[in-house]
């Protein structure tokens, strides 16, 4: 290799300009294709994703709000229903207890009446028996006293008259 050739310090030539211009254009294409292209695409993709995310979140929030409103409404309904059920039950229970009480008192009065009736009956029966007994006794006593047979039927009638007069 011979002596190194140098251009002058401040030089101008069309060939150098052309090469530089081509180089810059190629550099421009490189930067556009390999740096700005992918990065801009990525930024855009991310922006879209974020936007989508926000939209989804907004939709979710709205849905949750609606659901909450529904739930509050149904809970309020449930409370009302519960109060109504309780009121109904109380009313029913009160009615039932009154019914039971009335039943019981009715039964008690029935029993009393029956008892009174049976007592009355028994009393009458006993009275009749006593009457018979007394009549028999009287006849017997009278016959013993009089010492003579008399018509028992007549006597009986007389005694009964007597007793009815007495009693």
């Amino acid at each position: 290799m011979g002596e190194a050739i140098y251009q002058s310090f401040v030089t101008f030539n069309w060939w150098g300009l052309c090469v530089t211009i081509c180089n810059l254009l190629i550099t421009f294409l490189i930067v556009r294709k390999f740096l700005f292209g992918p990065i801009n695409k990525m930024l855009e993709a991310r922006e879209n994703e974020v936007r989508e995310l926000y939209a989804t979140a907004e939709a979710d929030r709205t849905a949750a709000e609606t659901m909450k409103r529904d739930y509050s409404a149904s809970i309020a309904n449930a409370k009302e229903e519960a109060a109504q059920i309780t009121a109904n039950a109380t009313k029913r229970a009160a009615a039932r207890s009154e019914e039971i009480l009335a039943d019981a008192s009715r039964q008690a009065s029935d029993l009393m009446r029956k008892a009174e009736e049976s007592i009355e009956l028994e009393k009458k029966k006993t009275l009749n028996e006593i009457k018979d007994e007394i009549a028999g006794l009287s006849v017997m006593i009278a016959s013993k006293v009089v010492e003579k047979e008399i018509d028992e039927a007549d006597h009986k009638r007389m005694i009964e008259d007597f007793i009815s007069k007495v009693g």
Partner: protein, 233 residues
């Protein structure tokens, strides 16, 4: 002070030279390609590490383009990024010991010419050819030569600003290096290496290579956005 070295000439026309600047431009392009592929490799929905960095950069550039050029100019963002990255890496490769591509007038002028084309293209597209041509006669027709001159001055000023800054840094760094070599030789001549060359140029390099490189890349892309955005409004 030499210009870029010529490696060989393609034997067509009068010989098309392949220079150091071109080689370094291709190196920078490869670097940008690798960086882009690395940053956008395996993108995830939830960004981590390098992806967060890349996204931040893209969002920032998009925002910068939106705020400087107005709405609806998003498709210019990759172009602005390309200019910014080319300029930044083209200047920063001087840190690796390579000749910065931006210290070659052809590089910066090439970029400025594309920007110039975009300015006029946007102007014609948004205002129509008639209004565009009429714009040269504002405020009165006598101003036409001056208007044309100012249009020509735009790419020239852009390219010379960038080239001048980088080439100036290169010249000063080289001068300093040789001065330090001479100085070192004079007072520490018994040593086999120019000891003073260690460290001191690095401090200057912080300004001329790092700061100026970032600054010029930013200025060039900001001017691109401002000019093209202005042509659209």
């Amino acid at each position: 002070m030499n210009g870029p070295q010529v490696y060989f000439e393609i034997p067509v026309l009068k010989g098309l030279p392949i220079t150091e600047s071109m080689r370094n431009q291709w190196f920078v392009m490869l670097l940008i390609l690798c960086l882009c592929v690395f940053l956008t490799h395996n993108l995830q929905k939830i960004p981590t590490g390098k992806q967060a960095l890349a996204e931040k950069a893209v969002v920032m550039l998009n925002g910068l383009v939106d705020s400087t050029m107005g709405e609806g100019c998003r498709h210019y963002a990759p172009f602005v990024a390309a200019i910014m990255l080319s300029s930044l890496f083209g200047s920063l490769i001087s840190v690796l010991g390579l000749r910065p591509t931006t210290a070659d007038l052809n590089t910066t002028l090439g970029w400025a010419l594309i920007v110039c084309f975009l300015i006029h293209y946007s102007n014609i597209k948004f205002h129509g050819l008639k209004a565009y041509l009429k714009g040269y006669l504002e405020p009165i027709f006598i101003m036409a030569p001056l208007n044309i001159l100012s249009e020509i001055a735009t790419p020239v000023s852009m390219s010379f600003r960038h080239f001048g800054n980088m080439a100036g840094g290169l010249v000063i760094s080289t001068l300093l290096l040789s001065a330090l070599a001479a100085f070192s030789n004079a007072i520490l001549g018994f040593l086999p290496v120019p000891l003073l060359q260690i460290g001191i140029p690095g401090i200057l390099s912080l300004y001329f290579d790092l700061f100026t490189a970032c600054m010029q890349a930013f200025i060039f892309s900001m001017l691109t956005m401002a000019y093209v955005g202005n042509a659209r409004s």
